[in-house]
Symmetry: C2
Subunit: 485 residues, 2 copies
Amino acid sequence: MSSHPLYISKAVYRLSRSPPSFPSSSCLLLLSFPCLTLHSSHLSMALLEISPSYAGSRVLPPNDLSSRPINPLLAFKNRLPSLPCSARRIPRILCSVSPNQVQAPVLSATPAGATSKRECFGVFCTTYDLKAADKTKSWKGLINIAVSGAAGMISNHLLFKLASGEVFGPDQPIALKLLGSERSFQALEGVAMELEDSLYPLLREVSIGKDPYDVFQDAEWALLIGAKPRGPGMERAGLLDINGQIFAEQGKALNDVASRNVKVIVVGNPCNTNALICLKNAPNIPAKNFHALTRLDENRAKCQLALKAGVFYDKVSNMTIWGNHSTTQVPDFLNAKINGMPVTKVITDVKWLKEEFTERVQKRGGVLIQKWGRSSAASTAVSIVDAIRSLITPTPEGDWFSSGVYSTGNPYGIAEDIVFSMPCRSKGDGDYELAKDVIFDDYLRERIKKTEAELLAEKRCVAHLTGEGNAYCDLPEDTMLPGEQ
Amino acid sequence: MSSHPLYISKAVYRLSRSPPSFPSSSCLLLLSFPCLTLHSSHLSMALLEISPSYAGSRVLPPNDLSSRPINPLLAFKNRLPSLPCSARRIPRILCSVSPNQVQAPVLSATPAGATSKRECFGVFCTTYDLKAADKTKSWKGLINIAVSGAAGMISNHLLFKLASGEVFGPDQPIALKLLGSERSFQALEGVAMELEDSLYPLLREVSIGKDPYDVFQDAEWALLIGAKPRGPGMERAGLLDINGQIFAEQGKALNDVASRNVKVIVVGNPCNTNALICLKNAPNIPAKNFHALTRLDENRAKCQLALKAGVFYDKVSNMTIWGNHSTTQVPDFLNAKINGMPVTKVITDVKWLKEEFTERVQKRGGVLIQKWGRSSAASTAVSIVDAIRSLITPTPEGDWFSSGVYSTGNPYGIAEDIVFSMPCRSKGDGDYELAKDVIFDDYLRERIKKTEAELLAEKRCVAHLTGEGNAYCDLPEDTMLPGEQ
């Protein structure tokens, strides 16, 4: 133990700083470093606190640990800095109902043991044999879904949708791995508690953490929602930099610990350039696996076309958002269809299409903030669900969906090496191909050029984060979408 | 028109006060009173403003109406006071894309006409033939779901669950009728906009309003979430009275305009007594149709038992919450089962069951507020979904669920004529029967007596609202659940 007193002291510091309560069901604590192993089968036994000077220790009174949920153990892990002896081997902490707390045979539960790989939260700290119960026999294997910004409002909608089976289906058990920040960690515990209380049968694991190298471990989906909001007086270049650094780090973490075929959806803004930074920092993951969310724009565009045409929104198809998730975005009415007919044949008010339509889509978020007093968390979460579903279900014949994807190799003449929203089709295997049969006219080309120019300028702004030399930031105007800064 | 200038002036007042924008797709406006009919096929034509003195009028410039969503029309209706010529005939306002805005044949949409009965919001202002499209042929008939407190956080989760099909199934089209207050009306418009942008195919109508007599029209489900929070220094008796008045009015409205078989779930606290007031004011609706939500307590109790026993929560069944949704509630570990065995055989720590368990369930909401900084909206919404599903799907053999229901005729010896949470079973037809095979011991009986006494005291407190004479309010201690005041 003495080889890494710093980590233990930091970890126990957290426990001693926040000792108000602890689960009566005690916890199995296991730290497994290549160069350090600490194993304690009962946390209700005395905990050693090693002082920052690495001398002196005191025994925490058991009473201090009597009624608090398991969370401090998770925080424990997250206080650990990057590890000098192995930056990639993260200590494993398993919280579990300890055997002596289980008072009778439990038919289908297997308490977590040394073979489990994840942190856990509350009731999710016991692992279970998915195949034990009859109804779970036809279930698929567990998938790991990592969500950043997990304590925020968008996640507060999204996590419950993921857990309910609404997204991945009623036979797909789910492990949620929630990434928060120092500031949001308590809120993250609250979210995990609400997930417990929701009793979703498909939700088999919930783990929470602050270190992306830990939370992204084996992630098959990474939904990157968290981003810093713009502070007072901050220029857009500053925002690009501060968020870019977050996404550079998360890209590196994904590269190192996530599933080799992880699908990444970047929601935190500026999402296109954040996605570019992320994929540039994850060279071992196919660039094609990274998406920037423009699905809410697509949905809003469909709704506005339906409203104008007097049809229900399910009659609108082939709606492309081209380019950046900003006010330069191009909702494409040239290729969109209503009841299978070109929109331009159904809505002949060209002035409306060229002027009002795009503005309505762009300004929707701002209007919503005025009305509702906060940004559109619920519909953003719905659009994330739509984006995921579009990748895991075959795209209907003749239709497509929009996603900000890596532009290299695109057939539309759009600049390479940026993340650009384009029309995609999927076979339902998580992958996509770019849509064919797309037409262009001068008006569409011209507007695509403008959003392309913006993305190229944003890219130059973050060159220091993509490994392409010195940044040169010249963003003439601010095109952030209202309420999405 | 001159017979009711007051209403027109009030209505137009609202339009002229809030004229910043208006849909370019114009609206069909129809007021149909027994004693007044105003019909205007285009709101983009000049609107007459009749001044409060009933003299003078001015034409609003069309520009003022150029880019605003349809909402003011709905607000229009809601500014109307109760009608002297017919308190029950509410003016009908139909917002629709007007025919001249629809520029080409629209295959399956039928613009709303004079036969439609509801207000509408945005894209939901056009009515559609549900059977027109292939995939909708097997759909059930539209059901009307009214939700009060619709601009609040619980509803913000619940409405999207209802609209997604998660609650009533993938073949059940939904009409949402949202009740808000003067204060929350703009937020309600924001919610409706987010519902539009979510493109849920099953969501066929959204209407918003402030008058329960209007919003509850033909409601088949009424989810009464809205309640006033307790102000500083307000006694519980005061809270019972102020909320009781809201639920008395809503009960009367349900009695007058809702479906004769409407199912009512009261969530707004104090929910048991609010439900009692509501049902007492709705004598033409079976008392059995009213529920007070104790499902979140049930879910939390299951989770805590699972955590203690080291099993996954789906192994816990037969969990009854007895009595009031307050700190006197009785989570019943005597009848509950884990893996089909009595909990008391699995968890032999009787002290924990008697002391800690109940407290954990009661205090869960408070702990969550500490962690998360706000009350548990997401898991409350999940529990409302669970409560609805329990009534529309057959209860699994041998199991039951908890709901606060009308106690008259109960087989457990509980006082009659209160709303008391008890174990229920359903055939899935929306109705329920009380569970048999329930056992009691002295400990359980004693605690049930205590929560019963509290509910009887609350009932005496609101006698003036249930038509039972003068109120006598003697509530010795405050047992509101934390964060649920």
